[in-house]
């Protein structure tokens, strides 16, 4: 379990200075708009792929501390990774939030959310951007197969 103070510092840092947070108009990025039904998080994620790996990643929108920080942290974790590597990291993260066995070594700063599963009303905050990334990567993989 990650130290509580360290967790708070990581989340605070990514909330106040989110990484890869920018609006993308470049159409070579694939994007996904994620708006939660039950809360006010409204995030768009963008990924530029080269057919095999994630060349660049970004997100934009309005979100709470948990959704902003989790999206920011995940954007760093998957940037430069192959589609499959990125999906594997996301799977570990989802397993953590689902209280299943997971590999904490793969999650680095995302371990800050290792007890988020205890806050039922916040789990979706921790998933909204990450799910967006996952859906975009899956689409990129589909596109690759179809070509």
């Amino acid at each position: 379990m990650m130290d509580q103070t360290l967790k708070r510092e990581i989340i605070m840092d990514h909330y106040q200075t989110p990484r890869n947070k920018k609006t993308i108009t470049d159409e070579s990025y694939k994007s996904k708009h994620m708006a939660a039904d039950s809360c006010i998080d409204d995030i768009t994620v963008y990924i530029k792929g080269d057919g095999h790996k994630i060349v660049d990643v970004a997100f934009d929108g309005v979100g709470c501390t948990i959704s902003t920080a989790s999206t920011s942290i995940m954007s760093e974790l998957i940037k430069g990774k192959s589609y499959d590597e990125a999906l594997a990291i996301i799977q570990e993260y989802e397993d953590m939030l689902d209280e299943k066995e997971y590999d904490e070594d793969k999650l680095e700063e995302a371990n800050a959310f290792d007890t988020l599963s205890k806050q039922a009303n916040r789990i979706n905050c921790g998933l909204i951007g990450v799910k967006g990334f996952k859906e975009v990567i899956e689409e990129l993989k589909r596109d690759e197969r179809e070509q």
């Binding site: 509580q4 967790k7 708070r8 989340i11 605070m12 909330y15 809360c39 006010i40 998080d41 309005v62 979100g63 709470c64 501390t65 948990i66 800050a112 959310f113 007890t115 988020l116 806050q119 009303n121 916040r122 905050c125």
Partner: protein, 412 residues
Amino acid sequence: MLDREKIRKDFPMIQSEESKGRIYLDSAATSFKPKCVIDKVTEYYTKENANIHRGDYDLSYQVSSEYEQVRKLCAKFLNAPSEKNIVFTNGASSSLNLVAYGYGQKFLTSEDIILSTEAEHASNILPWFKVSEVTGAKIEYVPLDHEGVFDLEAYKKILREAAGKIKVVTLAQVSNVLGNIIPLKEIVRYAHENGAIVCCDGAQSVPHIKVDVQDLDVDFLCFSAHKMLGPSGVGVLYGRYELLEKMDPFMLGGGSNARFDICGNILLKDPPFKFEAGTPCVEGVLGFGEALKYLMDLGMENVEAEGKELHKYFLDEMAKLDNVTVYNPKSETSIVTFNINGIFAQDAAAYLNSQGIAVRSGNHCAKILLNVIGASETIRASLYLYNTKEEIDRTIAVIKEATLEKCIGAAI
């Protein structure tokens, strides 16, 4: 005088072991129910279970008669001319949709204008979007000032200049976002003078202020039982009788027709029954009757006066804090809409939740808040007759000490 401590004893949601330390400030979403309401619902299922308006046996007669007594009670509560003006629906949204469908879609044309405000709840504007789509009628909006207050002069000007084209004025007596009370009586008088009828969304007003439909002269009034101590699944449409007679029902079926034949001829019953096809939420209506009695015993004048007083106390205490922005400092009923400076509304609401305080965060009505008061996400705290000054004091203390670090700490 409302004896709030005595009132609190009537509410199992406040008295239960699990509720210790919980402060419920989301009555604008739904209110708690007193034990008499809960008991009535249970009593129907344990002692009176029969359908209404059908059977030839004692039980059915008895429950039908009780059901109709609630209609009479509701008419009395609103000072309606007769119980025939009271249509039971399954909620305010259902009532509003019934007016839009049964009146708006039937009588409006592409020449007509529907006048509304930018502060409406989705349930009172989306049905009119549909009317506009089907009939070609246009929708126009009365502007609001920077605090979201209805601009009466602008309203009068729009009505005058539209010269008889505005056929329906549809608006909430109390906004679900900002809690302001609009001058409904004057709005109705002016609408009538200019040939328009008024459909009022009373979901946030009827629970909190005394509403006299004859004094207001409003044409339609829509509200839900569950925001005023009653069960969910029950709503009311009050309508002027001659309008109810002209209107189409939203649904047809058992209970709404007097007779029909194989050739497709249908003879509908008179209002209100023609609008009540199918078996209604019988237990909910009976429970609603108990809620009405409860409120009438307290006296709506008292509920209104003391509700306003408690709300003012909340606003006054909020004004003393230097870390909050209140968006409706001039509102009068129940609702306080605010942000804790520098903290996203949802984080603040989640933190309050971790301290046992239930509030709602959201972009309750993004358009008005963004354009009129410059904030898209806010926290809404709403009071009702079981809340106390002590609860407000504790809430204020928690808000005062809230920091971003604490909010994050509460989530991890």
